[in-house]
């Protein structure tokens, strides 16, 4: 994104200063209701995930006119995020004056406040001070109720309709605590975007044993590892495993965190053979070492490549690219 374009883009396009986008806007006090919650239970066990556009989507977002939050059913978060992105990324098709919504004062004031909080959080993230702050913190100053790594443990603010996966999640956490180790599970939560896919964060040193139990234990039975992804959150690195039990159709998401300086996650090639190349790819692009991997070499890049491109702090060889 060449510099001068950004200036031109930012200059004429937006009048007011745009705060760092707080995706949910200031008032996310009510976490968007588990939109797929209620009808979930009725679903046949064979196909739990409900396609996103199932009718139970209560309120289709009105693009330009939604200043207020309607009562119970939260509109789509995007609808209230009318605030354009901050200076770094002027909204792609943000016409300057075309559909200026009447901003209520209270809305403006809330947004300014969110901007300040966001900026503070951003500084904190860069400083890396917030060791304990999970990925959520880096996402800006919105309330902690949101999403995967909510600081308040699993679902402290229980959504009005407990989702059917909740008991499964608790059962899983309890089983893992029993079989693997007391502190095996750091966090457990439901991913609201993914039809409440239970997400467990497991400590690195217990991960091989946990993987074993996840595959062999009759209650879990996750014999199919469908995806292994590496993610570089500025504060820490994360390896995300998506597991699937073909008979019951459940999918779980398991995360293992590691620090940034010498990231290492025990390899699970002995448990699921499909992890072999996927771990090599993560090692190649993100630099996370996988002790226990039979043949950990670079898979995508030439062997003499320096650095790991997918890291956020990766300096490309020639910046022109």
């Amino acid at each position: 994104m060449s510099e001068e374009q950004k200036q031109n883009g930012a200059g004429p396009a937006e009048g007011e200063t745009k705060a760092e986008a707080a995706p949910e806007g200031a008032k996310a006090q009510v976490p968007p209701a588990k939109t797929e919650g209620a009808p979930q239970s009725g679903e046949a066990p064979q196909a739990p995930p409900q396609p996103a556009e199932a009718p139970q989507q209560p309120a289709a977002p009105q693009p330009g006119v939604e200043p207020k939050q309607t009562s119970g059913a939260a509109p789509q978060p995007a609808a209230e995020t009318q605030t354009a992105a901050g200076a770094s990324q002027p909204a792609a098709q943000q016409p300057a004056a075309a559909e200026k919504r009447p901003l209520t004062d209270e809305e403006k004031e809330a947004r300014r406040q969110a901007a300040l909080a966001a900026r503070a959080a951003k500084l904190a993230a860069q400083g890396g001070a917030a060791a304990g702050a999970a990925a959520g913190a880096a996402a800006g100053g919105r309330a902690a109720a949101r999403g995967a790594a909510a600081a308040g443990g699993e679902g402290s603010e229980e959504p009005p309709k407990p989702s059917p996966n909740q008991p499964k999640l608790d059962r899983a956490v309890q089983l893992l605590k029993e079989l693997v180790a007391e502190d095996a599970v750091e966090e457990a939560s439901l991913n609201p975007f993914n039809d409440d896919m239970p997400t467990l964060v497991i400590r690195g040193e217990h991960w091989p044993k946990a993987a074993e139990t996840l595959r062999d234990h009759p209650e879990f039975g996750f014999r199919y590892l469908r995806n292994v992804a590496g993610v570089d959150h500025e504060t820490h690195m994360e390896v995300v495993y998506h597991l699937l039990n073909m008979d019951s159709g459940d999918t779980y998401c398991v995360k293992v965190r590691t620090n940034r300086d010498n990231p290492s996650v025990p390899s699970v090639v002995s448990v699921w053979k499909t992890a072999d190349w996927q771990e090599r790819e993560i090692y190649d692009l993100l630099g996370i070492a996988f002790p226990g991997h039979p043949d950990l070499r670079r898979i995508m890049l030439p062997d003499d490549w320096v650095g790991h491109p997918l890291r956020k702090d990766y300096v490309p060889l020639d910046p022109e690219v």
Binding site: A21, E24, P32, P51, K273, P309
Partner: protein, 366 residues
């Protein structure tokens, strides 16, 4: 005493039957393969790194180039992921258009596989038969979205173009013709004793190994595991149509051939039903906010591409660009079983087995 030495042979990256720039380093003892080591990365374009500085509409043309034989399913998986995060409702007509286009893409992709697979085994004509029919699908796509291979057709929240008038009838005509063409294909090849001798019992593995190696698509179903995301985890409007999932028994190259040719027939069935229930008019674009910014959080979405389960894992921090975008590419995962299948086989079987797994290097290297 005769001293025999193993012949180290580089099959690829520039080789007529590696379906792209795959290099397989093979140690040969005479014609028998003793050691195999696939080397990939020749087509690595760093799509995932690029995506971190592009907003969602800009990433769509990049997904066309990942699995260039089924660009529609790649487009769909990205749009579906963003729609799931933002909870956007896709209108009825757009859903139907998406389904029709994806099933046409599945047929086109299987036709390419069928043609090149037979060419690898030595028969010259099937390749031309397949491409002759695939040309009709490419014409349909060209009329619909302006391109033959890199369609860039779907947008978050719907599809960009509505079907031009007369297009639906052309698709109906194509589906009707394709049925008879398919029988002709079976006459030409499926009964041929030489073909059967070349394919039966080659590169066989059982269901347990398939699940261990995380295979998906026809490579999984050929071992008898009945797992197809269109049925087991329905997305789009697949749950409105009835079609069955072809399944093989003993997981050898012939079963993969049978499953894929049967899948073409099933796709034709879906297309017929979809064309009948096609809503005459309606919106093709849902309510999408001006700037697409999915809320902070992550989602892993997966659909059934012609090569298997293609997944899209997005971690978003609320900005217009994804914080981290990872594609679970079926060809990349399916290729892992190649070394296990090849040891002990002959050179000719290397080509047959590699063709049977049906990989596309654009997707393997992403």
């Amino acid at each position: 005493m005769i001293r025999t030495e193993e012949l180290l042979l580089n099959v690829g990256p520039q080789h007529p039957s590696t379906h792209g720039v795959l290099r397989v380093v093979v140690k040969l003892d005479g014609e028998i393969i003793t050691h195999v080591e696939p080397v990939i990365g020749y087509l690595h374009r760093g799509t995932e790194k690029l995506a971190e500085s592009l907003n969602y509409t800009q990433i769509i043309p990049y997904t066309d180039r990942m699995d260039y034989l089924s660009a529609m399913t790649n487009n769909y998986v990205l749009c579906y992921a963003v729609e799931k995060m933002m909870g956007i409702e896709v209108p009825e007509r757009a859903e139907f258009l998406r389904l029709i286009v994806m099933e046409l893409q599945r047929i086109a992709s299987h036709l390419v596989w069928w043609g090149t697979y037979l060419l690898d085994i030595g028969a010259l004509s099937p390749f031309l038969f397949a491409f002759n029919d695939r040309e009709r699908i490419l014409q349909l796509f060209n009329e619909l979205c302006g391109a033959r291979l890199t369609y860039n057709y779907m947008r978050v929240g719907g599809v960009k173009w509505d079907a031009p008038e007369g297009w639906i009838d052309k698709v109906k005509a194509f589906v009707k013709d394709m049925k008879s063409r398919l029988d002709e294909y079976h006459n030409l090849v499926s009964g041929n004793e030489i073909f059967l001798a070349r394919v039966k019992g080659i590169g066989a593995y059982d269901a347990e190994t398939a699940i261990q190696y995380g295979l998906s698509g026809a490579n999984l179903r050929c071992t008898g595991v009945k797992w197809d995301l269109r049925k087991n985890e329905p997305y789009c409007i697949y749950d409105r149509f009835d079609f069955d999932i072809p399944v093989g028994q003993n997981g050898d190259c012939y079963d993969r051939y049978y499953v894929r040719t049967e899948e073409i027939r099933q796709s034709l069935r879906i297309l017929e039903q979809a064309l009948e229930q096609f809503p005459p008019e309606g919106e093709t674009m849902g309510k999408v906010p001006r700037a697409i910014r999915p809320p902070a959080g992550e989602v892993y979405v997966r659909i059934e591409s012609p090569r298997g389960e293609i997944g899209c894992y997005i971690v978003s921090k609320g900005k217009a660009e994804p914080y981290r975008l990872k594609f679970r590419r079926p060809s990349f995962v399916n290729l892992q079983i190649l070394p296990k299948l090849l040891v002990g086989e002959s050179m000719t079987n290397l080509v047959t087995i590699l063709g049977g797994i049906d990989i596309v290097l654009g997707e393997v290297d992403c």
